[in-house]
Symmetry: C2
Subunit: 357 residues, 2 copies
């Protein structure tokens, strides 16, 4: 009996030292790292002259790649999640939230998914562009408050899922980072499809302006096994002959236009499951508050988009989070105060589609 | 006896399930995340007009902060490591090496250090600048091959610690990322000292052009407990009246000048341990190969700098890696083929100075 107690005490000590019993919150990472993927090379004819190093003759420029940071947890589902940010953002958008909680990077690592966080070409750590550009430092944050549906400047929407702490707004505005070359959805989707091919298959999760390159990535690489789009804002794509009329709104562009592609390419979107999520405070009727009104047009276009995919045999859906009783979300549902609930909705969809094996 | 065996079997099973005994290579992360720190705010007088959102009146711009990604391992030394990249780089410089091995981020996480990886203001994910700028896409990679001391274009130095695989060179050139606003060492050191104050103390590790802001960070924040500088290239700082003459070299600037500060500020550098590392292929005599020759001047200036610190009572040293028998290192020793050996040298210094408690 004494021996049994001794061995149990030793066993208990060893288990305690192994950490798992003490702290189940530890992230166990099998592998993590970063790389650049895709992109192009400019080669200038001539010979390099070391006494004139600013002369490009004989020199090269590698640019227009994506930067990717990845983490593979100890036990992982077979398909990784590949995250593509929106306009004015980098992969930071999926990391710690503006109010300091865990974002989708950590939430889905903890749920056993490998995560690949991309900075798209000409953004963030993938700043080396093949085209020159001028960057203007223009104060525009009241505009961002409205277009991101936090509220009507300077008042937050009642019940909005954005922290009222001033530090949260400050972090949110500081995570904005500019293009280092003109946005080009072909360049972005070329790099993202190179990423999909490199990793041999993944689930693409896009946000906002990442939506357009997201559809193109799925068209370009059959290694894109599913697309989850949070609040896509533009570049909905339809087969030629089925492109809907522009949808009027009160924003500066006056209407939201759709893109067109060949039927052959469009049909690739019918071969994978697709889900699109939108948050709250999107008006049902036209309004002069155009920061909201553009989203009314976008939600309407998203519905036309999934209808088109489905009538060609696909599996797409739009989920307007308030229809599930999930209220108050901004343009960044995955970073909002209720982002665990938003993640639960995504997890349920992954399970339903058999994407979490 | 049977009971003892049973309990030992159970114990063994549980230990095996805990993972530690099976796979000692797993990274155990207690906490990871990212934030923006430091920076300033521009506020434009007037009122925001939602019908004219590109008019900055009444709007703000948050800019000039640093972006920081951090990881805290399960068991950590008391002082974290804070990494600041060099010119044309982001924190990627400390992540996976160009040839795909682990960089200092993972190496020092495995050695039990918390790591804070900064993108300096106006670079990488901290791209939001308070000043406008024009970015030019100019092919210049033969120049980089020389100034980074990989070789004399297009031939690598014999025995250079840089992989001959073409993919390594491609990754290396793609990790370069531009300024999104003019480099300003005061702006960079303001953000880095805000970081040091936020985390309450750390060991600053700089590379190349990060060296100058590094000395200023140590002067501005007493939470900078030590500085490790890899290949600082400019902005060596001396007390007024003790600034050495410019050191001639064959590069375009013709000579390397030093900066000056007040004695009061300079003396802050005498209160912490400082070590400076340089790699190989730095000539002892002037040469027309100016990509190497500028480093001769820099190494010489670094020696004058540590002499000055030490004669005022400090603890600084320059370690030229070839003097330790460590050969072939480029301008990026921490990412070179022998970076584990380079890390060992750093670990030994940390231990010697009692910085790994």
């Amino acid at each position: 009996m004494k021996s049994i107690i001794t061995s149990l005490v030793v066993c208990s000590f060893l288990l305690s030292a192994c950490g798992r019993t003490d702290d189940d919150n530890m992230l166990r990472i099998r592998e993590q790292g970063s790389f650049l993927v895709g992109g192009s090379v400019i080669t200038v004819p001539g010979s390099y002259d070391e006494n004139n190093p600013t002369n490009p003759a004989g020199q090269t420029l590698h640019g227009d790649h994506a930067y990717v940071f990845y983490q593979i947890p100890e036990k992982t589902h077979s398909l990784p999640l590949v995250f593509l940010h929106g306009n004015g953002e980098s992969a930071k958008t999926w990391e710690t939230t503006p109010d300091g909680r865990e974002g989708f990077q950590n939430i889905f690592l903890r749920r056993g998914f490998s995560v690949y966080l991309a900075d798209q070409p000409r953004r963030g750590k993938a700043g080396k562009s093949t085209v020159s550009d001028t960057l203007r430092a223009v104060p525009d944050e009241a505009f961002q408050f409205e277009i991101f549906r936090v509220g009507v400047w300077p008042d937050p929407f009642p019940g909005v899922q954005f922290s009222p702490a001033p530090q949260a707004w400050e972090q949110f505005m500081r995570q904005v980072t500019p293009n280092t070359g003109a946005f080009d959805k072909e360049v972005v989707s070329d790099a993202l499809s190179a990423l999909m091919d490199k990793i041999g298959g993944g689930i693409l999760i896009t946000h906002s302006m990442g939506g357009g390159p997201g559809w193109l990535t799925a068209i370009k690489s059959s290694n894109t096994r599913a697309v989850i789009a949070y609040e896509p804002g533009s570049s909905f794509i339809f087969p030629k002959g089925e492109v809907p009329s522009p949808i009027p709104h009160s924003g500066p562009e006056k209407a939201l236009e759709a893109d067109s592609t060949s039927m052959d390419k469009f049909l690739k979107l019918t071969r994978i499951p697709i889900v699109i999520y939108y948050g709250d405070n999107i008006p049902e009727q036209p309004t002069k508050h155009w920061g909201q009104d553009t989203w009314r047009a976008r939600l309407e276009m998203a519905r036309l988009f999934v209808d088109c995919i489905n009538r060609h045999g696909g599996d797409a859906q739009v989920i307007h989070l308030p229809d599930l009783g999930i209220k108050g979300n901004t343009h960044f549902p995955f970073a909002d105060l209720n982002n665990v609930e938003v993640a639960d909705v995504m997890s349920a969809w992954l399970k339903e589609k058999g994407l979490d094996n």
